[in-house]
Each structure stands twice: as structure tokens, then as C-alpha cells.
């Protein structure tokens, strides 16, 4: 732009212009950089959040095991002359079997006190696991089998922290020696902790699992879906296709938009005051939880469904009407089927929101120590986020690891739900 062969004054002014332009471009670049850094910061925080939680969850998913030669002597399964009946298998003293197997591995240990210490290598939950294994293989009675059994929580935390660096103060020196001996003979391994997905809550962090909370969540969501999907779709159809233009309908729309922004905890208060205090529905059950969450998700679903219905071209409805379909028939035969993928996308996202919701469920008592896996919507239950909250509040570090593991599962489910929603949106979002 600048021309060097021009007069001096012009050159000076053009140089000034040039500087000015440079400064303007610099400001622009600075703003762009600021925006990019804000985005990067958000990304970094996301990574940090997910990373720390996943890292924290590792010990809850993986568990150290030791290999023991367990002698399933017939004598241990004898009662009233019958050997190996189901009852004897259930009530046999597995702790003793494990203890004997440990003593057989370390024959050099003679002192009674040391023997007690030795038994502390294996987790108390190993008894139940051994029982379940034997129930699945009854032919083992009278034989000697190599079995992998989980280590106790103290040994576990010692082994896990020794991966980061030596940590010698937490465990008795004898135990450390014995563990080292087991490791030398390849009798230790780290494996996936399947029981975490097969159990309900427990007082012991190692015995605790998420099956109870998971089925509670599934039951609650089933109730939520069964209520909010049909009602939400019906309201959306009415508002989009049949509602007359009137002040009342405007008020209804304002109402829906505002209800979508009401804090979720207030829905919990509503559930408590109405479903439990007035209708006397059973407290802390998926039924009440699902009804409460249904009211919470309803506005979200209605808004999404209305958008999906509005996106269906009018020509389809016109065509059906011109063939003599009634307005209701035209809408339910042509408009609604076309809108269903969009409605489903919105519903799945609303379900994901409901799945992660905790606060309203605290209000109706779905925050309790519950060992049993709920089987129906009227059983007392807890849900995955509530379980996470319970575990996270515990001062025991092992429970906090369980919480991190449960969060990992929850995030994976949410990710899956969101992917399905995105897939549906991309698959069906095509011009008609």
C-alpha cells in the first residue's frame, strides 16, 4: 500500500497509517489468542477432571490376587453323613480352608500369632468368592485346586502405593516378606475386580459394588421414561399442532420455559410434599424417584419435541388432509412418525440429565445404605449418583476410590447415551 517514491509528508502519514493498521491487527490477534486460550483452559480442566477421577478409580477396578492351593477336603463338606449337599457347600467354613491353604504355602510359619497375621493376607470377602466358585464347580470336593483369591484391603493399599514408590510403614515386615515370596513364585497377579459389578453396597469397601445402585438407577429411569415420554410428546403435539392461539396457551409456553429452569432440588421438595406426604407412596423407592424426575425432565422433552415437530414440513400434513384424513389422523400418521427421531434425541438427552441428577433424590430419601439389589420399582433403592455421593463423603480412602470407579461407570453410560443421541440426530436429520 505504501509508495516509497511519494512526497515526505505523505510517506510520514502512510507510515503512521501503517503503524496504526499494525496495532489494529495486533489487537485482533490478541483477542483471537485470548479466545483460543479460554477454550484451551476449558479443555485442560476437562482433561484434568476426567484424568484425576479415572486415575483414582484404577485401584477399585483392579485388585491384587494371590494363588493358593486350596484343599477341598471332603470332611469340610460333611453334615449328617451327606457329603457335598448344597447346604453343606453354603455353610462350610471357607475361612478355615483358606487359612489352611496359606499355612500349607508357608510351612515355616509355626507361631500361632504369626499364623493369624498370615491369614490377614487374604481379604475376608475371599470366603464368599470361594463359596461361589465351588457352587459353580461342585465336582471339586475332595480335590485340591489352585484358586486366585483377593488380598485384604491393607495389603491392597500397600501394593498399590508401592507402585508409586516404596511405602514400608503401613504393613508388618513379616507380611511384606511373605508377599515378596509369593511374588517371586509368580503367585500374585493384578486382575479386574468383577465383583464390583455384581454386588450391592457394603460396610467394607472391598465388598462393595455398584449393582444395587445401577439397578436402582435403571428402575428409576424406566419410571421416568414411561411417564415423561408419552406425556411430553402428547403436550408437544398439542401445543404445536392443535393449540389455538390464545393468551392461555402463551401462558402455558412461558410456564414450560420457566419450569425448565427451576432448580432441581425444588422438584425434590415437590416429590416429598406431594408424592410421599399426600399420596403416601413408599419413600426412597424408584417409583417416587422416577415420578419426581419425570416432572423435572418433562419441560426439556416438550421443548425438544416441539422443535422436532415444527421441523416436519407442512406439505405432508396438507397431503394427508387433502386425501380425507382428519387432522388427528394426519398428525399421528405423518407428522409424529417423522418427528420421532428428533423427539427420541431430546428424550435420551433428558434421560441422561435425569441419570446424573442427585439433589431431588436426596429429598425423597434415595440416599441410604442399601445392601440388597432392588428388584422392583417399589423396593427401597439408591441410584448411581446418590451412591457416589455416599462413598465420596466417607473418610475411608478405599470408598473414595469406589466413588471414582462408580463415576467412571456413570460417565461411560452418559457418554454412550449422548453418542446414541448424536447418532440419531445425524442419521435422521435429512431433508424430506
Amino acid at each position: 500500500m505504501t509508495k516509497p517514491d511519494m512526497a515526505g509528508t505523505t510517506a510520514a502519514s502512510s507510515a503512521r497509517k501503517h503503524r496504526h493498521l499494525k496495532r489494529r491487527n495486533l489487537t485482533n490477534a490478541a483477542l483471537k489468542f485470548a479466545g483460543l486460550s479460554a477454550l484451551m483452559l476449558a479443555g485442560a480442566i476437562t482433561l484434568l477432571l476426567i484424568g484425576t477421577i479415572f486415575w483414582r478409580a484404577v485401584p477399585a477396578f483392579l485388585q491384587h490376587q494371590v494363588k493358593l492351593d486350596v484343599d477341598f477336603a471332603q470332611a469340610a463338606f460333611e453334615s449328617d453323613g451327606a457329603i457335598g449337599s448344597r447346604d453343606t457347600m453354603i455353610y462350610a467354613n471357607y475361612g478355615e480352608l483358606i487359612g489352611k491353604a496359606l499355612e500349607a504355602t508357608f510351612v515355616q510359619v509355626a507361631d500361632e500369632r504369626d499364623k493369624q497375621t498370615l491369614r490377614a493376607i487374604v481379604s475376608p470377602s475371599a470366603r464368599a468368592e470361594l463359596r461361589d466358585t465351588l457352587l459353580a464347580n461342585p465336582e471339586w470336593i475332595g480335590t485340591r485346586q489352585s484358586v486366585w483369591l483377593p488380598v485384604s484391603s491393607r495389603v491392597e493399599s500397600f501394593l498399590h502405593s508401592s507402585a508409586d514408590g516404596p511405602n514400608t510403614r503401613s504393613l508388618a515386615p513379616q507380611l511384606q516378606q511373605w508377599l515378596a515370596a509369593l511374588e517371586r513364585s509368580d503367585a500374585t497377579r493384578r486382575s479386574f475386580r468383577l465383583p464390583f459389578f455384581k454386588r450391592g453396597d457394603s460396610r467394607r469397601p472391598q465388598g462393595a459394588g455398584i449393582l444395587g445402585a445401577l439397578s436402582g438407577s435403571v428402575l428409576t429411569l424406566m419410571v421416568t421414561f414411561a411417564l415423561s415420554f408419552p406425556i411430553g410428546l402428547a403436550s408437544a403435539v398439542y401445543l404445536e399442532e392443535f393449540a389455538p392461539k390464545s393468551r392461555w396457551i402463551d401462558l402455558l409456553e412461558v410456564n414450560i420455559n420457566n419450569l425448565a429452569a427451576v432448580p432441581s432440588i425444588l422438584f425434590g421438595l415437590l416429590g416429598l410434599a406431594v408424592f410421599i406426604n399426600v399420596f403416601h407412596l413408599p419413600r426412597a423407592t424408584p417409583l417416587v424417584g422416577g415420578m419426581t424426575l419425570a416432572l423435572m425432565t418433562l419441560p426439556t422433552i416438550i421443548i425438544a419435541a416441539r422443535a422436532a415437530i415444527a421441523a416436519v414440513p407442512n406439505s405432508l400434513k396438507d397431503a394427508a388432509l387433502s386425501l380425507g384424513a382428519s387432522p388427528v389422523q394426519a398428525v399421528f400418521h405423518h407428522v409424529v412418525p417423522q418427528a420421532i427421531p428428533g423427539v427420541m434425541t431430546g428424550t435420551i438427552l433428558a434421560m441422561a440429565q435425569a441419570l446424573g441428577e442427585t439433589a431431588p433424590l436426596l429429598m425423597i430419601g434415595m440416599l441410604a445404605f442399601i445392601v440388597d439389589v432392588p428388584g422392583s420399582v417399589t423396593d427401597v433403592a439408591t441410584t448411581l449418583p446418590a451412591q457416589i455421593f455416599l462413598w465420596a463423603e466417607s473418610p475411608n480412602k478405599a470408598f473414595s476410590q469406589n466413588a471414582a470407579a462408580a463415576i467412571t461407570v456413570l460417565l461411560l453410560i452418559l457418554f454412550l447415551l449422548n453418542s446414541i443421541a448424536v447418532y440419531l440426530r445425524n442419521r435422521f436429520e435429512r431433508p424430506i
Binding site: S315, A319, A320, G324, I432
Partner: protein
């Protein structure tokens, strides 16, 4: 093929107020308002069986509005108000007792843009008969579908792929599918709202042939932008301007010796 010189009908119309044929449809003093807009102003017209009536005029002249009075599709528009009388077979369809659904079953409509349902070709045509329970058995339904597609000149092209999506056809085929769909309900009247405006000349030609074939058996009213098309397919032409009916009569007369100055100007292409 020149429908402009169609002797039998020409005779019928040249006789003023033919007494032997009562009109199939008649409109008397029809006004349509969209809110504050006066879209149609005091229109009266008779339309006869077995002939094609073309409605022509510049954009926004009310010809489509008038067409939609015959199956009460105007009611789909927010705050539309229609006054006056529209009679089909001497029954006022704006009577409060009239069942709109039954009315639309006897008055088919073809839209400006082809609008097949996103279903199979078969299901598109079968939709109406299923709705009205016309077919007793599945083979009856098959017959209706085949006959309608045959009548719409589409059967040969689609008979091997009836389960394909109707939306997968070409534009011209889609429009003929829409006509087949309308025929399948067995209406007495077919309204066509610029059926060729979204089509290429070859597809347009096919639709025009089809209209000519359908003339016996159906009363056809067609709105068109193209005066050539009106001249090619219709026996009677009605000229609208600014919401009013300016002139109507046999197509030949309208195009050769229009009585009104404005009609003449429009035909000559002075405006529109």
C-alpha cells in the same frame, strides 16, 4: 392433439346457460379474508363435469385461494375467514353440518411441489384407501394401487419397485405418484395447484398428457402460471386479478377474443 378444438364440449359451452347440464360445482359471492387482507372478492363461478377448468392470473391474484375453497384447505391458514356459498352437487360445503373429512375424500388435491409421504410407493397410494376402508381385502388394495398407478401413467415405471421410498423418485414421477395417490381415493373432483411449476419440460409434458386422459371421469380444476399450459390442457379458462374474477369462458374465446381490456393485456404479456 389440440384440446383447444374439442368439439363436443365446445358446443356445450357455446350454448349460454346450458339447461341440460347442471354445474358440478358452483361458487356464489365468495369472499376470503386473511386477517386484514381481502384475498378474494365476491367471486361467483360454475364449473362443469368432464372438463378441465384453468384458473390463470398474476401472482397473488387469489386463484390458489379460490382453488382451496373447494376442499376447505383455506382453513389451515391462521385467521382465514370465508363467506359466501360453495356448492358441490348442489350441497353447500360451507354448511356447518358438512364433514370436512368426507368432503376432502371426494375432492382430491395435487400440490405445487410434489409431497409424497416418506413411505414406500405402495403405501403412498394405499394410504387413502386404508384410511377410508375402501378395500375389503389385501388383494383389493393391490388392485386399487395398480389401477391408480396405471391411471397416473406410472405403473410401468415403478411396478418392480413398489416398496421403494416414494421420496426416491424423480420430481416428475413424484408428482404423478401424488396424482395416483389422489385418484386412489376415487374422488369426483381433482384440484391441481400449479402441479408443474417445480418440474422440467419433459415431466410437465407427461403431466399434461395425464390431465387430458383424466378429463373423462373427473372434474379437474387447475391453477397455472403458464398461459400456454392453460391453452393446452383446459376447455374453460378463468382469469383472476387482485382478488376478483375478471373474466371466464371457453378457453378458445379467452385466448382469441377476450372481452375485457385487462385480460387482453395479461394474455399479451403486458403484466403479470
Amino acid at each position: 392433439m389440440n384440446p383447444m378444438i374439442d368439439q363436443p364440449h365446445q358446443d356445450q359451452f357455446s350454448a349460454p346457460l346450458a339447461k341440460n347440464a347442471s354445474p358440478k360445482m358452483s361458487a356464489r359471492n365468495v369472499h376470503v379474508h386473511y386477517g386484514m387482507t381481502h384475498a378474494l372478492n365476491d367471486v361467483s363461478l360454475d364449473i362443469y363435469e368432464d372438463e378441465v377448468t384453468a384458473l390463470i392470473g398474476p401472482s397473488g391474484c387469489g386463484k390458489s385461494t379460490f382453488l382451496r375453497c373447494f376442499n376447505r384447505m383455506n382453513e389451515m391458514v391462521e385467521n382465514a375467514a370465508t363467506t359466501g356459498e360453495v356448492r358441490i352437487d348442489d350441497k353447500n360445503i360451507y354448511d356447518s353440518k358438512t364433514d370436512v373429512v368426507a368432503l376432502r375424500a371426494s375432492v382430491g388435491m395435487v400440490f405445487q411441489r410434489p409431497n409424497p409421504f416418506p413411505k414406500s410407493i405402495y403405501d403412498n397410494v394405499a394410504y387413502g384407501p386404508r384410511l377410508h376402508g375402501t378395500a375389503e381385502t389385501n388383494s383389493d388394495l393391490d388392485e386399487i394401487v395398480e389401477a391408480s398407478l396405471e391411471r397416473a401413467g406410472l405403473w410401468e415405471e415403478v411396478k418392480d419397485r413398489l416398496s421403494d421410498l416414494g421420496t426416491a423418485l424423480s420430481d416428475g414421477q413424484q408428482q404423478r405418484l401424488c396424482i395416483a395417490r389422489a385418484i386412489a381415493v376415487n374422488p369426483q373432483i381433482i384440484l391441481m395447484d400449479e402441479p408443474c411449476s417445480a418440474l422440467d419440460p419433459i415431466a410437465t409434458g407427461k403431466i399434461e398428457e395425464l390431465i387430458e386422459e383424466l378429463r373423462s371421469g373427473f372434474t379437474i380444476v387447475i391453477v397455472t402460471h403458464s398461459m400456454q399450459q392453460a391453452a393446452r390442457v383446459s376447455q374453460k379458462t378463468v382469469f383472476f386479478n387482485q382478488g376478483s374474477l375478471i373474466e371466464h369462458g371457453p378457453t378458445v374465446e379467452i385466448f382469441t377474443k377476450p372481452k375485457k381490456e385487462r385480460t387482453k393485456d395479461y394474455i399479451m404479456g403486458r403484466y403479470g
